[in-house]
C-alpha cells in the first residue's frame, strides 16, 4: 500500500497517522529532537538509527573501567513440571552445535513447547545461544527426514519411497556386502562430521568393528592439530580448558567464542566485565575481538610466527616461570634458540602486527598471574597447522599456568571412558596391515596412521581422489552419518564428482540437504531433543558428565547408536551393542565411575571435584613425563620438533606472480553466531538474522573495485568462482577479504578453495590463507 511519507534512509514509503502532529505536540517536550530524527525514517530503519544515535557521533574515548560482579548460578532443585505451562521439564544437553550446553526442554502433550537454558547449570549460568533457543524449529522443520527412504529416481533427482527400517537396514547391509565381495574390503568408507555428544566417536568403534576406514570431514582442519600438539607437548588437552573463573588475563587465539563456544563466552565475558584484561588474535574486528584490550590483527596464516614472537619476548625478557620450566620442562634451550630467530622486527614483517603491540601483549600475558589462553580452529587451517598449535600450547607451560586455578586445566573425568580408551574405540583392531591401507597413512602420519594421537582417519582429499581414479584400490560405497559433504569440505567440485562416481551411498541425517539427495538409502536421525546422550565434553566442561534426554519423537527417527548397532548386527560386526536400547552402551561408558545411566538420569548429571596440579603425582602424560617443549614424538617422526613459520602456499610473499593476478588474501571459516557449520540455514528465524553470506572487505579496497556496501560480488581464484554480498568494514585489513563458509550453491566458498596442498603431518587444507580477486557482479 503506498504511503504518504518516504523514509530518508531506505526510500520506502509508509503511512503516518493523520493526527501525528497532535500526538507529537502532546509528547515532544522531553525528547523532541530524538523524535524528529527517528520519525523521519520508516519503522524498519528506526531501531538501527536509534542505536547509532544513542551511542553518539561525538565520541570521547575513555579507558574501559567497568567492574560488574560476575553472574552467580542459582541453587535450584531439578524441576519436573513447569508451574507456568504445566509442561514436563527434561534436563538435557543441547546439541544444536557441539558445545553441549545444559538446557531445559519443556514438553507438553507430546510436543516440545520450549527450550531454555538451565539456570542451575554452572557451565552456562542459565544462558543458551540463539541456535539452541531455536532447536524446536529444527525438530519441527519442514525439511525433516522422518522415515527411512530409498531412492527411486536418478541420483540427486529427489524422488523417494518410504520403506521400513528393516528393509532399509537389510538393503544397506546387503549392498555393502556385495561391494565388499566385488571390490575388496577397503572399497567402503564411513564419514562423519562434528562431534555432537559421544556418538561420532562411536562411529569409530563401528568402523573398527566392521573393519573399515573412516573420515571425519573437519578433523584435520579442526581440533586434531591442536589436540595433537597438546598431546605431544603437554600430554593432554589443557589448552582446550581455560579457567576463566579465576583468571587475571585472557588470551584468545584464532577463536570467536561468543559465536562458537557460547558457554565459554559466558565465563569469558563475566571475567572481562569484572575487569580482567583480554588479548585477542584475529584478522578481523569481530564479536570477541571488539572487546579486546589488545587486539592483534595478524595476516591470515601467520600464527606460528606470532606465537614465536610471544615466546621470544617471554624468554628474552625473562618473563617465563623459571621454577616450573626448570622442574617440569625439557627442551627449553632448543626452544630458546628457535625463538631467538624470531625477533620482533622479523615477526612484524611476517605478521603485519606492530612489534610494540606484540611486546605489550606478550608482557601482559606473561606477567599476569594466573593467565589463561584459549585457541581454536583459526590456527588449524594454514600451511603448517601443527607448528602454529605447538607455539600456542607452549604458552601456558612457559608461563607456569598449567593446571592451576585461573590457568589452563587438564580435564578431570575420573574413569569415564573416552576416545583414548581402546576398549571403547577398538583401536587395537587396526592391525599394521589394515593401517597401511588407510588413505593418507604414509603422508599424514598424525592423521591417518596409528601414530595419530587419537584415532586414525582417512585424509579427505586423498579419499576423493581415490574414489575418482581407483588408486591404490577402488572405493565404491560410503556410509555418511551426519555430515554435509557436498558443502563443507574444500573443493566442492571434486567432492561431488567423487560421490556421484560411487555405486552405493547411505546417508543418515536430520534434515534434507544436497548431500542427502545423493543417497540410495536415507535414514532419519534423531535431533538432540529426541535422543538420550551421556557425554564428558572437554569443550563444555573440564569436570562434568552431562546427559541428554529424549523428550519427544518425530516420525520414525532413531538414535545414532541404534542406527549403527542395527546396521552392525546385519553386517556381522562384533563388539557392538544391541540396537534396542542405548542404555547398555551408556552403562559401559560409565562403568569405571561407579555411576549408571539410571543414576545420572535421576541426578541430571554429575560433577567431579576439582583437582589441580595433577602432574605433581605422576608427571605429565608424555614419554618423558614432562612438558616436552621439544616433542620426542615429532623427533621420532623425523621432522622439525619445534614450531616454525611456514609461509602459506599462496601469498603475496610466496607467489608474487600469482598475487599480481589475485591480489587479495582470502580467509574463510570465521563462525557466525546463528549457524553451526552447514547447519541452521533452513531454520527460518535464524536465517532472518543472516539471510545471505556477507564478505568482509575494507572500504578503501571496495572503492578501488567500484563495490558498494551490500552489493553482490564475485570471488575468483585459480580454482573457480563463487558469489557473496559485500560488507564494507574497516575492521579488516585492506589486503584481506573474509568470507563466511558453509553456504551452499554458488555461495559456497569451498568452490574456490584448494584442497591439494595440505599441511604436513595432519593434512589440513589452507582455508585461512589463499589468494583471490573480487569484482562486482554484473
Amino acid at each position: 500500500m503506498p504511503g504518504d511519507t518516504v523514509c530518508k534512509k531506505c526510500g520506502t514509503s509508509w503511512i503516518v497517522p493523520k493526527n501525528l502532529k497532535d500526538i507529537l505536540s502532546k509528547a515532544r517536550s522531553s525528547r523532541s529532537e530524538c523524535y524528529n530524527e527517528l520519525l523521519s525514517l520508516c519503522p524498519k530503519c528506526r531501531p538501527q538509527a536509534f542505536g547509532e544515535r544513542t551511542i553518539g557521533e561525538d565520541l570521547k574515548k575513555v579507558p574501559r573501567r567497568w567492574r560488574i560482579p560476575r553472574r552467580r548460578v542459582e541453587e535450584r532443585k531439578p524441576v519436573k513440571t513447569d508451574q507456568r505451562s504445566g509442561a514436563r521439564v527434561y534436563k538435557s544437553q543441547c546439541y544444536i552445535c557441539n558445545s553441549g550446553c545444559d538446557a531445559l526442554v519443556f514438553e507438553k502433550d507430546g510436543k516440545v513447547i520450549k527450550v531454555e537454558g538451565d539456570p542451575s547449570s554452572p557451565i552456562t549460568k542459565g544462558t543458551l545461544c540463539c541456535k539452541g533457543l531455536a532447536s524446536k524449529e529444527q525438530l519441527y522443520n519442514k525439511d525433516r527426514i522422518l522415515y527411512p527412504m530409498k531412492r527411486i529416481g536418478q541420483r540427486g533427482e529427489g524422488r523417494w519411497q518410504r520403506i521400513s527400517w528393516d528393509e532399509a537396514l537389510d538393503t544397506a547391509a546387503e549392498r555393502f556386502k556385495g561391494i565388499e565381495k566385488k571390490y575388496g574390503p577397503d572399497s567402503i568408507v564411513l564419514a562423519t562430521g562434528t562431534k555432537r555428544g559421544t556418538w561420532p566417536d562411536y562411529l569409530m568403534r563401528f568402523a573398527n568393528a566392521w573393519g573399515k576406514q573412516w573420515t571425519s570431514t573437519g578433523w584435520a582442519q579442526c581440533a586434531l592439530p591442536r589436540l595433537s600438539a597438546g598431546g605431544m607437548v603437554l600430554g593432554g588437552s589443557a589448552a582446550e580448558c581455560p579457567d576463566f573463573s579465576k583468571t587475571a588475563c585472557i588470551l584468545v587465539w584464532g577463536a570467536n567464542p561468543t559465536n562458537n563456544w557460547p558457554h565459554k563466552a559466558v565465563h569469558l565475558m563475566d571475567a572481562w566485565s569484572a575487569g580482567v584484561p583480554m588479548i585477542v588474535v584475529d584478522p578481523e574486528l569481530r564479536e570477541t575481538s571488539s572487546k579486546a584490550d589488545i587486539w592483534l590483527q595478524l595476516r591470515p596464516g601467520t600464527d606460528a610466527a606470532l606465537g614465536l614472537g610471544f615466546i621470544n619476548v617471554i624468554i628474552g625478557e625473562g618473563l617465563y616461570d623459571k621454577e616450573f620450566v626448570e622442574k617440569w620442562c625439557i627442551g627449553f634451550d632448543e626452544l630458546k634458540a628457535r625463538a631467538e630467530e624470531y625477533d620482533l622486527d622479523r615477526v612484524e614483517k611476517i605478521t603485519w602486527v606492530p612489534k610494540a603491540k606484540i611486546r605489550e601483549a606478550a608482557r601482559l600475558y606473561a606477567t599476569s598471574k594466573p593467565a589463561c589462553m584459549m585457541h581454536s580452529v583459526g590456527i588449524e587451517q594454514n600451511a603448517d597447522t601443527i607448528s602454529s598449535c605447538l607455539a600456542t600450547v607452549m604458552l601456558p607451560a612457559l608461563t607456569g599456568n598449567l593446571d592451576i586455578p585461573g590457568g589452563n586445566l587438564f580435564p578431570m573425568f575420573q574413569g569415564m571412558r573416552g576416545r583414548d580408551d581402546t576398549d571403547y574405540t577398538l583401536k587395537h583392531l587396526i592391525t599394521p596391515e589394515r593401517e597401511k591401507n588407510i588413505l593418507g597413512a604414509a603422508q599424514y602420519p598424525l592423521l591417518s596412521s596409528n601414530e595419530c594421537m587419537l584415532y586414525p582417519t582417512s585424509h579427505n582429499s586423498t579419499l576423493w581422489k581415490t574414489m575418482l581414479d581407483g588408486e591404490p584400490y577402488p572405493v565404491k560405497g560410503i556410509y555418511i552419518h551426519g555430515t554435509h559433504l557436498a558443502v563443507n569440505v574444500a573443493n566442492t567440485q571434486q567432492v561431488t564428482a567423487a560421490l556421484r562416481a560411487l555405486e552405493f551411498i547411505v546417508v543418515v541425517d536430520i534434515l534434507m540437504n544436497s548431500t542427502a539427495e545423493l543417497a540410495d538409502i536415507l535414514l532419519p536421525a534423531a535431533t538432540w531433543l529426541e535422543r538420550d546422550e551421556v557425554a564428558c565434553h572437554i569443550q563444555a566442561s573440564y569436570n562434568a558428565i552431562q546427559i541428554g534426554q529424549a523428550a519427544v519423537r518425530q516420525g520414525e527417527c532413531r538414535s545414532n547408536y541404534a542406527i549403527m548397532n542395527g546396521l552392525a548386527k546385519r553386517l556381522g560386526a562384533e563388539n557392538m551393542f544391541p540396537p534396542e536400547s542405548d542404555e547398555p552402551f551408556f552403562d559401559f561408558m560409565l562403568e569405571k565411575t561407579g555411576l549408571t545411566w539410571k543414576i545420572l538420569k535421576e541426578k541430571g548429571g554429575h560433577t567431579f571435584p576439582d583437582l589441580f596440579r595433577k602432574y605433581e603425582k605422576n608427571g605429565f602424560n608424555t614419554p618423558s613425563r614432562k612438558v616436552e617443549l621439544v616433542s620426542s614424538k615429532m623427533k621420532g617422526l623425523g621432522v622439525d620438533p619445534l614450531p616454525a613459520h611456514r609461509e602459506p602456499s599462496e601469498s603475496p610473499i610466496n607467489t608474487p606472480e600469482l598475487a599480481k593476478e589475485y591480489p587479495l588474501i582470502i580467509t574463510t571459516g570465521g563462525r557466525l553466531s546463528m549457524y553451526r557449520h552447514s547447519e541452521g540455514r533452513n531454520i527460518e528465524i535464524l536465517r532472518e538474522l543472516m539471510p545471505r553470506p556477507l564478505m568482509s572487505i575494507h572500504p578503501a579496497t571496495a572503492q578501488g573495485l567500484g563495490i558498494k556496501d551490500g552489493e553482490e560480488v564475485v570471488v575468483e581464484t585459480p580454482r573457480g568462482s563463487m558469489e557473496a554480498w559485500a560488507n564494507l568494514t574497516e575492521g579488516i585489513h585492506p589486503g584481506v577479504v573474509q568470507l563466511p563458509s558453509h553456504w551452499s550453491g554458488m555461495n559456497n566458498v569451498n568452490l574456490v578453495m584448494d584442497n591439494q596442498r595440505c599441511a604436513p603431518l595432519v593434512g589440513s587444507t589452507e582455508l585461512r590463507c589463499q589468494l583471490c580477486r573480487v569484482k562486482r557482479k554484473e
Binding site: 503516518v16 497517522p17 531501531p47 570521547k60 507456568r84 574486528l285 546463528m674 528465524i685
Partner: protein, 180 residues
Amino acid sequence: MNQKEKKMLVVLDCCVGCHACEIACRQEHDLTHETGSKWCRVMTVKPRRVRDELYLDYFPTMCVHCDAPLCLESCPIGAITKREDGLVLVNGEKCNGCRLCISACPYGAMSFNEVTQAAGKCDFCLGRAEFGIEPSCVQHCIGGALRYVGPEELNEVTKGKHTAFFEKVCYASSQWKLVS
C-alpha cells in the same frame, strides 16, 4: 515481583551481538517466522575509527515504555494502556490491526504480527514475572549485557558510567558518551 521499581539495564560494553535475546524473545512470545514480528533486536554499529583506534559496538533495542507513549496516543480504539507500574501494554485481542502505532513509535519497537493480525511489543515478559522469573532475554544473554534490576543495583552498576535513560530502559557504557 514489583515491576514499578524495575528497569531494563543494557550494559553496552557487554553486548556481544550474539542475538540470543532476539531468539529467546521470539520463542517466549511465540513470534514464529510467519508472524514476521520481533520485539527485541540487536543492531550492529559498524566499526568506527576514533583517534586511530577501531570500535565495533552492538546495540540491543526493545520497547522503552515511554511516559507519554506515542503508540498509545495514536491508537484509535484504546488498545494500548500505560499501567500504574510504568509498563505500556498492548491488548492484542482488542487491537484492530490498523498499524498506526507502528508508524508512531519512534524507536521501531512496535511490531505487527501477521498471524494474529495485531500489534505487539516487549512487555518485559509479564507472564514470567508473575512467577518470579526474569525476562527470557535477560536469562539467555551470553555477554551479561541485559539486566532487569531495581534502583539500587542500577545505581551500583552504572556508578561513574555514561548513561542514557529512556523511561524503563537504561543504556550504559563505560566508553561512549551516550545521547538520550
